[in-house]
């Protein structure tokens, strides 16, 4: 169990402190400030810190620290889950980018939330939708007030992610498939690691308690259906689901059925490692000329996706040695600039059409140094977004909504592939 939850700002000032048990005191906040925040430990050291017999588990939102303090041998994954959910709840109440000011201005609200989500150090109800029913002081959008009896029956109960009696004029579902592709390529062009991790985000605006059935072109499902003229499905390595999904049903026949929460939520995550289409091929050529203190870099980027599509926000970061003095850059497309603070040439292309080829060439003059230290050659980093493209080949086959009243539902599906870590070594 958790003895205390603290919210600190970047200087270590206490903004919220809620003590659930007697066994830690406010002095704990001081030791955290001194040993973690002042020591600039975050990131380099573990997110779990032991100071004497107290364990501090912490995470960050913007520049704030959310700290759970305990004296017991707790389940760390659970505590982090709680902290994350806490942040999610605050986001729902105060907006995505809530900061110190909004915390201060809504202190009473936050204490209320602290009280409801945890009792005596044990997590209680953390479902935003239900909390909204009875804690609604913040600038949360006011929904039509349910009557009290209905309200309280929702606080506990099995389906705590959706309340009854939701009404929408138009019934709509938005589905976003967000894939992020991770690639690590060696300087010889071998693929060291390639993987797609993806999320299926949903925004549902549905009336009543609808039962939804959702289908991807999952290989196992398609094979089972065995219809002849279908394209083969995608082999999904593994997936996890929002808790509204009936896991037993998925295990039995791989159908994804659920009663969705109202509004935005993440329905599932999946991972694919086989048969991935790389949206970009990057071919670098780097030559170091030791005697002349020069480096020349040539790089070709080839887009492999369909000509009807285009990538946006393409940023290729080509590292150069720290002692770069002068660069001469030529590009066939887009804009490139040497940015000394990043020791890299940043090549930006706003719109990269499909099946196209772009080149960049750079001659770099180096400053002579007293000690010839080898250049460590960090990898080239590529960032991009390709809308309406999934590199795993996953697509949504259907979403069926069943409700007693039998209304029609409008469905909108979007796909987007982003670069997770798209790196090419040189």
């Amino acid at each position: 169990m958790i003895s205390m939850i603290l919210v600190l700002n970047h200087k270590g000032d206490v903004m919220i402190s809620r003590q659930y048990r007697d066994d830690v005191s406010r002095a704990a906040a001081d030791s955290f400030r001194l040993q973690v925040i002042a020591a600039k430990e975050t990131g380099t050291q573990a997110p779990v810190k032991r100071i004497e017999n107290c364990s501090f588990l912490y995470t960050r939102h913007l520049n704030m620290y959310f700290v759970a303090i305990t004296r017991a041998n707790v389940n760390p994954a659970l505590v982090f889950e709680y902290l994350f959910q806490k942040i999610t709840i605050l986001k729902a109440y105060l907006g995505e980018e809530f900061d110190d000011n909004s915390i201060r201005n809504n202190m009473t609200l936050i204490y209320e939330l602290m009280d409801e989500t945890m009792d005596y150090g044990y997590p209680q109800n953390c479902a935003v939708d239900v909390l909204r029913l009875y804690i609604n002081l913040g600038n949360i959008r006011q929904q039509d007030e349910p009557d009290a009896s209905e309200l309280t029956s929702q606080i506990t109960g099995a389906i705590d992610w959706r309340r009854e009696g939701i009404r929408h004029k138009r019934n709509e579902v938005y589905i976003d498939v967000l894939e992020s592709i991770n690639l690590l390529m060696s300087s010889q062009g071998d693929i060291l690691r390639m993987e797609v991790t993806a999320q299926v985000q949903m925004n549902t605006k549905l009336t009543g308690m609808p039962e939804c059935k959702f289908g991807l072109n999952d290989k196992l499902v398609i094979e089972k259906e065995a219809s002849s003229n279908r394209k083969p499905g995608v082999e999904i390595d593994d997936c996890t689901f929002h808790r509204c999904v009936r896991l037993g049903k998925f295990d039995a026949d791989r159908t994804i059925t659920f009663i969705p929460p109202d509004g935005e939520f993440e329905l599932m995550r999946y991972r694919v490692t086989d048969n991935i289409n790389l949206p970009f091929k990057i071919i670098p050529a780097v030559r170091e000329m030791q005697d002349q203190n020069r480096v020349s870099i040539n790089l070709k980027a080839i887009s492999t996706y369909n000509t009807r599509l285009f990538a946006t926000h393409v940023v290729i970061k080509i590292p150069v040695p720290k002692n770069t003095a002068k660069t001469k850059i030529k590009t066939s497309f887009g804009r490139a600039k040497y940015e000394p603070e990043q020791s890299a040439i940043i090549w930006r292309i706003k719109k990269f059409p499909g099946k196209a080829e772009c080149m960049i060439g750079a001659d770099i003059d180096l400053m002579p140094t007293t000690r010839n230290k080898a250049w460590v050659r960090p990898p080239i980093n590529v960032d991009f977004q390709v809308p309406m493209f999934t590199s795993s080949g996953v697509n949504v086959r259907f979403l069926r909504v069943y409700d007693k009243s039998g209304y029609n539902t409008n469905r909108w599906v979007r796909y987007i592939t982003k670069a997770g870590g798209y790196q090419i070594r040189i």
Partner: protein
């Protein structure tokens, strides 16, 4: 409407703009007094928003750590308000300062107790929670009355708050449990229809019984909870799952059933629940098949573990990596083919990177070693010095363990030699140390290691690395011609050496070289011994120099010196370095604390958790059939602590209904325990039994059994051998008599019966007329809700398995006639 717009009484604030908040600046003298004045005029203030603002200020001060306990009296007066927000804040204030003002706090409890009877369940819950959180020992008795009432509240929110309240009071006064029989109540409430209440019951019971390893669990409780798993919230699921590792399944089949039941939970996104499942699996495997099964389990969870690890936040990734590390230690080899998942990513926090490097080294096998070695070598050139050191160490580990197959150790050695020459201080130094370790394990590599050493000595400056190079020069002196001359420069510059580690290495290596090549080294050794014996900076060094000096001077035969100095540093290929030898027992202990901080810290909880927070890992139930020695199910030894626990739990499962007043109260505990079994699994066939033909089955008409006999016979048959059968009924019998009379005509006697609000209960028995004359005992319940059916739990003392139970049920069905369909 935004709360931000609720402008405070002071200067108007703009929403979103930086707040010139007066109450977050330092407390100036008089501000508390100012607040007091505001509070005094509180009742005259009409504007609700302004009222809230005042209270908010007080709470803000409290958060900052400014002592506002002086305002206690004034705050007490505010408590009588209809505004829920103000109420909550005042309660918060109260709970914070009650211990400092016990008398005053006692005065306001009247309001609190009054609120405990409010119409709004939210207010009732809130008041009760505050009342229990006051932390005033003298109030315990006073509080227990509303608490008892709240435990039976119609609303789940109040009940779950009350359950937590028990725990709060317990920490003030341990005797309260006995006085109020709270433990029994809690076990009863495990059957509460609301999952949130059940969750809290589990949590509270676990803590109350911490000393004996947590809540007592038996088969009935476990199966009951697992069958309801779908109803629990994600945190509730974790509470239930945390019980599973301590549960010993009644038989293999049940163990597998539980696993199948839990398998879908692996798809959850809640890492806490996910990890709990893994622990439950591993623990169940221990009871079922042991090591091999664990291997299967780790293989099963591998894919979801990777997803969980890569998909989550950095913090979760850290925790997951620690656990993956533990799983790899448990089942080496399983994660090997996923090694690419442990490659570093640019944007990851450093702590995650460090862990990944360490894990990577453990994954090396002949197939993937070239890739892993390549990847680690890339990491060596990282700008983070610690990371590159760790990478070098990881490489050394792979080479030392020789897990990489043919040529891998050589490959690594070559790479390390390149690194020594790289002339980046920390890398060269670390690589040199790594080479020293590799040489100890793998002497055949000496030819490879020797060449770069003399030049390396010039540019390695870090103490440890330098010492390693000197050590290697001493070891390999016979194949490096210039070794003595490399050392000679150091000996001449002895006074400039700061690091004692380097000096010691220098001394030892020079002696070793002297023994190998006396004519070249003799003079420099003399100089070194002189400097070292005069050196007072390090005692150890000084003494060693003296020792060598005297040995050399007095020894009749140089071979004696040889024996003393040249201890065999080599280690057989398969053995590990002492510090790498992982203690099996230690690991087993650690695995018992899987999914806790112990794994993160890498040490068992007794090293970082104080005594009162220790939880012992006790497997339950104690009277387990698989557990008992030599298959004697009935006489399984019961240790005193656990039997106490199980008594408590039996007693607590007792239904305080009319059953109690029946002539055989002693049977009730077992009976009530069994009634949960309706959710149970398939009846398990008893061991080899002669089949009993249904046609020959009959019952002895006049059988009599006393309550005590019944109870002892019932207890003698293990729960695992009980048969659970459901008989559908056409209509609900009007009373217990309507069932008992026809049954007694069919020679099935009733020991006790009763009517509860939701069900009828019967304790029946009969004797088989066949030669063995076994007694058949039945605990039956008929639920009053539809579908109407009779749930039978049958135990047979004596031979006779499923057939006999079946035959008996036929007799019973016939007897019931009108009711049975």
């Amino acid at each position: 409407m935004s709360y931000n717009n609720n402008a405070p009484p002071g200067p108007p604030q703009n929403q979103g703009a930086p707040v010139p908040d007066s109450y977050f600046t330092e407390s100036r003298k008089g501000e508390v007094n100012e607040l007091r004045n505001l509070l005094r005029n509180f009742s005259t203030q009409k504007d609700m928003k302004k009222k809230r603002e005042i209270i908010k200020k007080v709470i803000a001060y409290m958060t900052l750590g400014i002592d506002v306990s002086r305002l206690f009296t004034e705050m007490m007066l505010v408590i009588e308000t209809r505004d829920l927000v103000i109420k909550k804040m005042v309660y918060l204030f109260l709970c914070n300062y009650a211990t400092a003002n016990p008398e005053l706090a006692q005065m306001c409890t009247n309001t609190l107790t009054k609120d405990c009877n409010n119409d709004d369940p939210m207010v009732r819950g809130l008041a009760l929670r505050s009342l229990c959180s006051l932390r005033l020992p003298q109030m315990v008795e006073y509080v227990s009355e509303p608490l008892n009432r709240a435990l039976n509240d119609s609303h789940a929110y109040v009940r779950k708050t009350a359950v937590m309240g028990i725990l709060k009071l317990y920490h003030l006064d341990e005797e309260i449990l006995e006085r109020n029989g709270f433990v029994d109540t809690l076990y009863d409430m495990l059957k509460d229809p609301d999952a949130a209440v059940v969750t809290n019951c589990i949590l509270v019971l676990n803590e109350l019984m911490q000393k004996s390893g947590g809540m007592a669990i038996n088969r009935a409780i476990m199966l009951h909870l697992l069958n309801r798993l779908g109803e629990f919230s994600e945190f509730g699921v974790v509470a239930v799952l945390d019980l599973v590792p301590r549960y010993i399944p009644a038989n293999q089949e049940e163990g597998y059933q539980i696993m199948n039941l839990l398998d879908p939970v692996l798809g959850t996104t809640n890492a806490g629940a996910f990890m709990a499942v893994i622990f439950a699996f591993l623990s169940l495997a221990e009871n079922l098949a042991g090591k091999e099964m664990k291997q299967q389990i780790v293989t099963r969870v591998k894919a979801p573990v990777i997803t969980m690890m890569t998909g989550g936040s950095a913090e979760l990734m850290y925790v997951m990596l620690k656990h993956v590390d533990a799983l790899i230690e448990l089942c080496p080899g399983v994660f090997d083919d996923e090694y690419r998942q442990f490659y570093l990513r640019h944007h990851e926090p450093t702590n995650v990177k460090y862990l990944k490097i360490q894990v990577l080294a453990k994954l090396a096998n002949p197939t993937n070693a070239p890739d892993i070695v390549g990847e680690l070598s890339e990491c060596v050139s990282d700008s983070d010095a610690t990371l590159s050191r760790l990478s070098v160490q990881a490489l050394a580990r792979i080479a030392c363990r020789d897990v990489g197959g043919e040529g891998c150790a050589e490959n690594i050695t070559c790479r390390l030699i390149e690194m020594v020459d790289l002339d980046i201080a920390h890398i060269s130094s670390e690589a040199a140390t790594a080479l020293a370790a590799i040489l100890r394990k793998n002497p055949s590599l000496r030819e490879l290691i020797a060449p770069p050493l003399p030049r390396a000595l010039k540019y390695i400056h870090e103490g440890r690395g330098k010492a390693s190079v000197i050590h290697l020069l001493g070891e390999l002196g016979d194949i490096i011609p210039e070794a003595p001359y490399a050392l000679e420069k150091l000996i001449d510059g002895y006074d400039h050496i700061k690091c004692s580690e380097v000096k010691s290495a220098l001394l030892t290596s020079t002696i070793k070289l002297f023994l190998k090549r006396p004519p070249e080294v003799q003079r420099m050794l003399g100089r070194l011994l002189q400097s070292a014996t005069e050196d007072v900076s390090c005692q150890d060094l000084h003494d060693r120099a003296l020792l060598y000096y005297r040995l050399l001077r007095n020894a009749p035969d140089p071979s004696i010196v040889d024996q003393v100095v040249k201890t065999n540093m080599q280690i057989a290929g398969s053995a590990n370095f002492a510090e790498e030898n992982f203690d099996e027992d230690m690991r087993d202990e650690l695995m018992k604390e899987f999914n806790t901080l112990s794994i993160v810290f890498g040490t068992t909880s007794d090293n970082f958790v104080s005594e009162e927070n220790q939880i012992k890992f006790v497997k339950m139930p104690a009277e387990h059939p698989l557990d008992g020695g030599a298959g004697s199910v009935e006489s399984a030894p019961v240790n005193p602590v656990d039997s106490l626990a199980s008594q408590v739990q039996e007693a607590s499962l007792l239904d305080h209904g009319p059953v109690d007043t029946t002539p055989a109260p002693a049977t009730a505990p077992m009976a009530a325990e069994m009634d949960l079994l309706g959710f149970g699994t398939e009846p398990t066939p008893a061991p080899v039994v002669p089949p009993v033909a249904a046609s020959t089955f009959s019952l002895i008409p006049n059988v009599a059994l006393s309550g005590d006999e019944y109870q002892s016979k019932w207890g003698a048959v293990s729960d695992a051998d009980a048969h659970v059968i459901i008989v559908p009924l056409t209509t609900l019998p009007p009373s217990t008599d309507a069932v008992e009379t026809p049954l007694s005509q069919a020679s099935i006697k009733t020991m006790a019966s009763g009517e509860l609000p939701t069900e009828f209960k019967f304790f029946l028995y009969a004797q088989d007329a066949s030669s063995d004359g076994s007694i058949i005992m039945v605990q039956a319940s008929i639920g009053k809700s539809s579908p109407c059916e009779m749930l039978l739990t049958i135990k047979i003392s004596g031979p006779g398995g499923f057939e006999k139970a079946d035959a008996f049920v036929n007799v019973l069905k016939n007897a019931l006639g009108a009711y049975a369909s």
